[in-house]
């Protein structure tokens, strides 16, 4: 039998070799802001455990290196990811001197690169398996549950990022819910206004270029400037329009952030509605007209359902973009996970940055996967129905 190498496997094995044997696995610091000292896998873990981890990693890298069945590759990478997730917690406990409450242990570059390499392998297998949309959501849910269980079990409590969390558990959830409200609320507002506006642009050709140009120009204003520029008009509204202040409209804080996110969201929603409606086959429209459907019936019964996947793509773009942009709201007192990111940058406490950045990335990632799956489902359903 001839031995054949897997091309991606060669790349992954090279990355893994570097991460496992050269790069540091964990960083130890005497307190949260001093520079850290690097620790390799064998230094960061009890000898037996460290050797076991290295053995698992090497075995998995070999499985990746050669052409092996997909299921085996998937199993190998899941085993390594689970081992890494469990053992980084062990490293935290092992490296922290007993009773020392100032010492901080955080995952270092080697750990992150190993996670990246094996996630790459999982992603490759999942891409090659060509999973159905529902199965993809299933994988996401299982992964989220596993991480949730690890967090609840307290196995990661010895890590620096969770010590930062422990110090701000209350504000973490408050800022988190603000972040989600900002991202989802501005999306909802953009859909409520953007859909009718898109339909109007589709029907009235003279409006189209003008509206899309204005929305395009809004996109070019840098986010931090737009957030800042809205402070003044909203401050004016708050003091001059009766009842506005009672609604929570103020110059700084959530209101300008909400309006800025809403303005950025309009373009993808409106543009995709226009593109989706323009892509409705003429035959479908003619048939609907021939059946004697009114304009209204045609819009809701024919055009809108056919354009739906394209509109949904616009909504996906907006949601992922909003989750990211909502971090900037913290600069103008709007709250959200950005609060921790900017505090962390200010104090050069990187674990605090991570406390803000990791949930943001996770949220955006989950939103992208779920919406991609939903888009695929509606698109294929449509194709089956029209076939």
């Amino acid at each position: 039998m001839q031995i054949r190498f897997d091309k991606l496997g060669v790349v992954i094995a090279a990355i893994v070799a570097y991460a496992a044997f050269v790069a540091p696995f964990a960083t130890f610091r005497a307190n949260r802001i001093v520079p850290g000292q690097a620790r390799s896998i064998l230094e960061a873990l009890p000898t037996a455990t460290g050797t076991l981890l290295l053995a698992i990693i090497v075995a998995a890298a070999l499985i990746a290196l050669f052409k092996t069945p997909l299921v085996l590759r998937l199993a190998a990478s899941v085993v390594v990811l689970a081992a890494l997730a469990l053992l980084i917690g062990v490293a935290g406990t092992f490296l922290t001197p007993a009773g020392d409450t100032f010492a901080r242990v955080s995952p270092a570059s080697g750990f992150w690169i190993l996670i990246f390499a094996f996630t790459l392998l999982v992603a490759d297998v999942l891409t090659r398996l060509n999973l159905s949309p529902l199965a993809r959501i299933g994988v996401l849910v299982v992964a989220a549950l596993a991480i949730g269980l690890l967090l609840i079990s307290g196995r990661w409590d010895s890590l620096s990022i969770l010590k930062e969390y422990a110090n701000r558990a209350d504000s973490f959830w408050a800022e988190g819910s603000k972040h989600v409200t900002l991202a989802l609320g501005s999306l909802a507002a953009a859909v409520i206004i953007g859909l009718p506006l898109g339909i109007l642009c589709h029907r009235v050709e003279r409006l189209r270029a003008g509206v899309l140009n204005v929305l395009n120009i809004i996109q070019t204003i840098p986010s931090i400037a737009l957030f800042g520029l809205l402070i003044a008009p909203l401050g004016w509204v708050a003091t001059h329009v009766p009842g506005a202040a009672a609604l929570g409209i103020r110059g700084i804080g959530t209101a300008p952030a909400f309006v800025a996110l809403f303005l950025y969201s309009l373009l993808p929603v409106v543009a995709n509605t226009v593109v989706g409606l323009a892509g409705v086959p003429r035959a479908a429209n003619d048939a609907a007209r021939g059946m004697g459907m009114t304009d209204r019936q045609r819009l809701f019964g024919v055009e809108f359902p056919l354009a739906f996947p394209v509109i949904l793509t616009g909504i996906r773009i907006v949601l992922v973009q909003n989750i990211g942009l909502a971090t900037i709201a913290a600069l103008i007192g709007g709250g959200g996970f950005g609060v921790f990111v900017f505090q962390g940058v200010g104090q050069t406490a990187m674990d605090l940055v991570l406390l803000g950045a990791v949930p943001t990335v996770a949220l955006a990632f989950a939103a992208a996967i779920i919406l991609d799956a939903v888009i695929e489902m509606t698109a294929t359903k449509r194709r089956v129905e029209t076939a």
Binding site: I224, A225, G228, L331, G344
Partner: protein, 249 residues
């Protein structure tokens, strides 16, 4: 609208922009009403011209690097030898776009320190994605008969790539570069939260001292740059598309 009107508008915008960054003092009366308590009207901790040039420099370096890497990667995964990587690279691009810029910036700081470097890294990563995506579209949607003809004419793989495939995909790749530049121009302002010297400095100074005039001048310069560069690159794109006989959407 008359055909010359947009060109005139663009010219006026260029003149206004140049006048503003070179002698912002002229515009002081216009911005004066936006400040309170005799606060300075024009950014006074550095010249707007220098900041504008530094801003453009960061965007230029990041875009050139991103273009080289993204196009090289797209070429690699569309050759028979790299075909195995194609599906994975597609999903990676998709995943990469979910990382928020602020997170990338902040996470790059421990690795490379404060200043221009983290900004360059973030801009480079964000620039990669649209260019790669468009280069991939361009290289995978070439008309089959043209490729067939090139092969029939006895061209080698390298000749086909440089004389047929790349020139034909140039307009689409340019479209990706244009997107990437506009995103980078805006993202570079966020770089000032980690102490990069860009126009974001003016905006952040305005946010910190509650000075609307600062926020407005920083924001408008970036927006004007973005609109002008977007227009300019669109024109280049239309020109190459006409030459290549390809339609740009």
């Amino acid at each position: 609208m008359k055909a010359w009107f947009p060109s005139l508008l663009r010219l006026a915008l260029v003149v206004l922009l140049v006048a503003f960054v070179t002698s912002p003092g002229w515009f002081e009366p216009l911005l004066k009403p936006l400040t309170e308590n005799n606060a300075p009207v024009i950014y006074n901790q550095g010249s707007l011209l220098t900041l504008t040039l530094l801003h453009l420099r960061i965007v230029l370096i990041a875009t050139v690097a991103a273009t080289v890497v993204a196009v090289a990667l797209a070429i690699l995964v569309t050759r028979p030898a790299g075909a195995e990587f194609l599906p994975l690279s597609r999903s990676l691009v998709n995943i990469g776009q979910t990382f928020p810029p602020v997170a990338v910036l902040a996470l790059a700081v421990p690795a490379v320190g404060f200043g221009e470097k983290p900004t360059l890294i973030a801009l480079f990563l964000y620039g990669l994605l649209p260019i790669f995506e468009n280069a991939l579209t361009g290289l995978t949607t070439l008309p089959a008969n043209v490729m067939e003809a090139a092969r029939g004419a006895g061209m080698t793989g390298w000749q086909r790539l440089t004389k047929v495939e790349l020139p034909l995909s140039a307009p689409i790749i340019l479209g990706g570069i244009r997107l990437s530049v506009v995103i980078s121009l805006a993202t570079a302002t966020i770089g000032s939260t980690v102490a990069a010297k860009t126009l974001g400095e003016v905006i952040i100074a305005g946010l910190l001292s509650n000075n609307l005039a600062f926020i407005l001048q920083g924001g408008l310069i970036v927006a004007a740059l973005a609109v002008l560069i977007y227009d300019g690159l669109s024109a280049v794109e239309r020109y190459t598309a006409r030459r290549m006989g390809r339609e740009v959407e």
